[in-house]
Point group: C2
């Protein structure tokens, strides 16, 4: 965690190696983590520079303004996180409902193992930045839309396979995204991931996969899908 590029007395001047992509990645790593933990406004560029071991000149070279940095974090990192956590698992799932359940449980398990809750990157930044700047808002809205679309598409696939005939794909997707987002908000505030499981149970108990009451079907789905934790 401390400095390691101090030139020792043995070799007075280390030769510099330009690594623009590596440096850019290092900055994005630190910014992503800091935005997640402290938020955008509470993260100063000075802190980020110190944490990344990067000088002001280098930072400014890759990201002219703080807004540009945040936009890059949103478009590259936050979008990728949603892709990894939700979109890919949803594509890989057998059905939409199984996918939703798998993600909820995987995230809940990951948070419980981690011991604390930092919340959803997308929602964290969306709340802080949506009204601040139209560019922020549009970038964040696009990620929300892609997220919803991935779920709705899965419902559509289910319907083409003869399932979920009574379900409105768009609305189902909206509810899935909303309940996850809100549950994460509560989990973050209470520092307790249990509410994620509460919401999932309520969602499934209230919404059986077909007309069956869905009481005996629930347990055996739990082990079907293993997923890499975030």
């Amino acid at each position: 965690m401390s400095a390691e590029n101090k030139s020792p007395a043995t070799r007075r001047r280390r030769k510099r190696t330009n690594d623009p992509e590596g440096m850019r990645k290092k900055v994005l790593d630190v910014a992503e983590a800091s935005f997640q933990a402290r938020g955008y406004h509470a993260s100063s560029l000075g802190d980020l520079m110190a944490a990344a071991g990067v000088t002001g000149g280098a930072l400014h070279h890759h990201f002219p303004t703080k807004k540009a940095l945040a936009l890059a974090v949103i478009e590259e990192r936050v979008a990728a996180a949603v892709e990894e956590t939700w979109i890919a698992p949803m594509r890989a799932a057998g059905t939409a409902r199984e996918g939703v359940r798998a993600v909820f449980e995987a995230v809940a398990a990951g948070l419980e193992h981690q011991g604390f809750v930092r919340g959803c990157q997308l929602n964290n930044l969306a709340h802080e930045l949506s009204l601040t700047d139209p560019d922020f808002r549009m970038a964040l809205a696009g990620i929300f839309a892609a997220w919803r679309k991935a779920i709705a598409d899965k419902v559509g696939a289910d319907q083409q396979a003869g399932r979920e005939q009574g379900t409105d794909a768009q609305r189902f997707a909206a509810l899935a995204v909303a309940s996850y987002s809100g549950a994460m908000s509560m989990a973050k505030t209470a520092q307790d991931a249990g509410v994620l499981r509460d919401c999932l149970e309520a969602l499934e108990r209230a919404a059986p996969s077909s007309s069956q009451s869905g009481l005996a079907v629930k347990r055996r789905r739990r082990v079907l899908l293993r997923q890499k934790t975030l």
Copy 2:
């Protein structure tokens, strides 16, 4: 909206009138609005002072620190907003599900009439402040808990009246709060309140009030409950 306490030449010195409660209220009004629109960190005390027409001395007299001001906004204003928007309508509703529907529709209608979405005060501040300070977090968590309890209590009352026998009150409340919170997050980011209606429809289509499929029951509930818009 401009200054009105400039002393005109007619009477050289206006007599000052101490109004501690009024001044405190004025500051809280401005702070509440600014936190809602710009967030905590993006709201500077200088802006608040200017907007409220209050000097630094007066502000500091009532709120020694910015944190104290935010805590007052949370405990007095945000809690009151949740009380007015959710808890009171929930107590007044015939059943829990009717109450949830009434609030969703009232808020959606209010937002559509307003033309823009600033989001949920509680969730806005919760996302920005939960991880920054334990005092903030606890205050916000308490409001979430009261919100959930109000809904769960209503489900309990329904159950004592013979309804909702298969429903878990805690989980139902968690899902209602979560889906509302998440829907508001999306509505704020997309600047479109329609997602609130999507979530409500999905919630009710998926969760019929009893074993009936809930297709014909939905429409006639819509006019039953009128509620004061936020």
